[in-house]
Symmetry: C2
Subunit: 84 residues, 2 copies
């Protein structure tokens, strides 16, 4: 039997850092007539299925998933499921 | 006074649809020594601040944010804040 954890890792831009995708999405929405949209910020989500613990997922963020200069990461355990 | 809603819109690939970013992230993690990672799926998150209601946010997903062929969307109201 193996036990797998599922983690959701959210990578977002630090406050004040430019977010080109958020900005172009805002422009796109306004161009479609949604003129009352005030702000759009984009973020990236990775859903990771593995046997690693929270500390090791944090290590993955630091080494690969997030840019420490411009991005923040946030890790959430989603659920645990068992399978044979 | 204006009331703004904050919505989190999550755009993910439908099950069975290829996810190149998830796959290359999986390869990257394994190359770093995290060999027990079983699967990585990527998704996109838009944090939208606006006065629109849920139905209009859904309209934005259909018209701009999600590709109906390959992607699913999920909308969550995060909070409501008031400002003058």
């Amino acid at each position: 039997m193996c036990i797998n954890m599922i983690y959701e890792v959210r990578i977002s831009y630090k406050p004040g850092v430019q977010d080109p995708e958020g900005e172009s999405t805002l422009e796109g929405l306004r161009a479609l007539g949604f003129e009352k949209v005030e702000e759009v910020r984009s973020a990236k989500l990775y859903v990771i299925k593995s046997d690693y613990d929270l500390q090791q997922i944090e290590e993955m963020c630091k080494r690969l998933l997030a840019n420490p200069i411009s991005q923040d990461y946030e890790i959430r355990e989603v659920k645990q499921h068992s399978s044979r």
